[in-house]
Subunit: 239 residues, 2 copies
């Protein structure tokens, strides 16, 4: 099964942007009349019939609409500090989309070595991974914000922060245990940089209602901690 992304859906038709149209008609050689499957990136699948096979902007008539296609029964925001090595972050983006995430927010911490992050490449990876793993919703990769600003603005019903040091006032519990004991399915998880959060960032998070969690005894790199956190939510809701 091959999915195409439409950037405009209007009047019973899906309109493919140039790159998607070229892939559809030049690479896969679809012709007018062929059945194709189109996603809107927001969670809906459209079963369509190709009506215009221009490689600059194909269009397809909608035959059937399937909302919530390929979705998951939770809403997950991963706020993860960019890694020194960009490939490692992009790998995380791909894997998180495959497993199931909704928003990825690159956050810059006080100890972050990488203080600039351009989300364009990660957005393309998210689109490609969503299509490859048959999801109609393409997770967003947002513009970077500071850890402190993310903490202040986070409105998820369950907010978790994973860090390595033990704050005396707030012992960490395992992420699996916290997921089991809390209700709500709108979750945000904050993962720090290679140098961990600063004690001030941890305290700010705790005062904003973030629950301190650990990801088990293994010492994980930033991107491995991040995917382990995604898997913990996926297992809790889906397995």
């Amino acid at each position: 099964m091959e999915l195409f992304f439409a950037d405009r859906i209007d009047g019973g038709f899906c309109f493919l942007p140039e790159e998607e149209a070229a892939h559809c008609v030049r690479v896969l050689r679809h012709r007018v009349g062929d059945a194709i499957d189109v996603i809107d990136g927001a969670g809906t699948l459209y079963r369509c019939c190709l009506t215009d096979s221009s490689p600059k902007g194909a269009q397809a008539r909608i035959l059937e609409t399937v909302p919530g296609w390929g979705g998951h029964p939770y809403r997950l925001t991963m706020a993860v500090c960019p890694t020194k090595n960009n490939d490692r972050y992009e790998w995380f983006v791909e894997k998180a989309v495959e497993v199931g995430v909704d928003r990825i927010v690159p956050v810059i911490g006080e100890h972050s070595e990488r203080r600039v992050y351009k989300p364009e490449r990660s957005r393309r990876i998210a689109l490609s991974a969503a299509k490859q793993s048959l999801k109609a919703a393409i997770p967003s990769v947002e513009e970077p914000v500071s850890v402190a600003d993310f903490i202040r603005g986070c409105t998820a019903s369950l907010k978790l922060i994973a860090y390595c040091f033990e704050e005396e006032t707030a012992p960490r519990r395992s992420v699996a245990e916290v997921l089991r004991s809390c209700s709500g399915d709108d979750i945000a998880i904050l993962i720090g940089p290679e140098g961990d959060f600063s004690p001030e960032e941890a305290r700010l998070a705790l005062s904003a209602g973030f629950v301190p969690v650990h990801l088990g005894p293994s010492r994980l790199r930033t991107e491995t901690a991040a995917i382990t956190a995604v898997e913990s939510v996926y297992f809790h809701y889906c397995l």
Copy 2:
């Protein structure tokens, strides 16, 4: 904390091979008399004092021996078909070692596109990931074998196979549910190639006592399925 790998331990001394010795004395500039931490790759940590700082073959006197250091409370064999793109397999090796695995067996299935796998690079990645994630045991990466040979020779107490199609005679259960309902902590998990197992391979596995499992509703690439399976064992035993 920095770990060094010793390929020989004898008479109260650890002997570092050339690459490790050069890293220890040339890059990190350790001198005779410095305290260093050495692993044997089989699960034991040695706290040592550097006694010979030759970059061609440093040696260190053992002060303290810590068996089972950085270990996990299960034994996990991951038998995973090599991916078309080698980077994806090597990424899986690194992540599996960080999270916790004991043996990685590249298996060649009837539908495998990649039919040759050279384990040398993956072994170096496993060594590096074990040191980086503070584990004294370096998981083995074995020579490739056929899926059928792996099935016939597998002696684990709990044997799981993840495939995508539903064998009519054996409905798949979730990997988490199977782990919860079975005892034993010597586990082998078989993950197929991009083209899945052949029906004959699946039947052979079932007749050899493999339990068919699924990894949830998401459609995962081979290497993502493999790391998801590792995470499921890690969560079951450690979180």
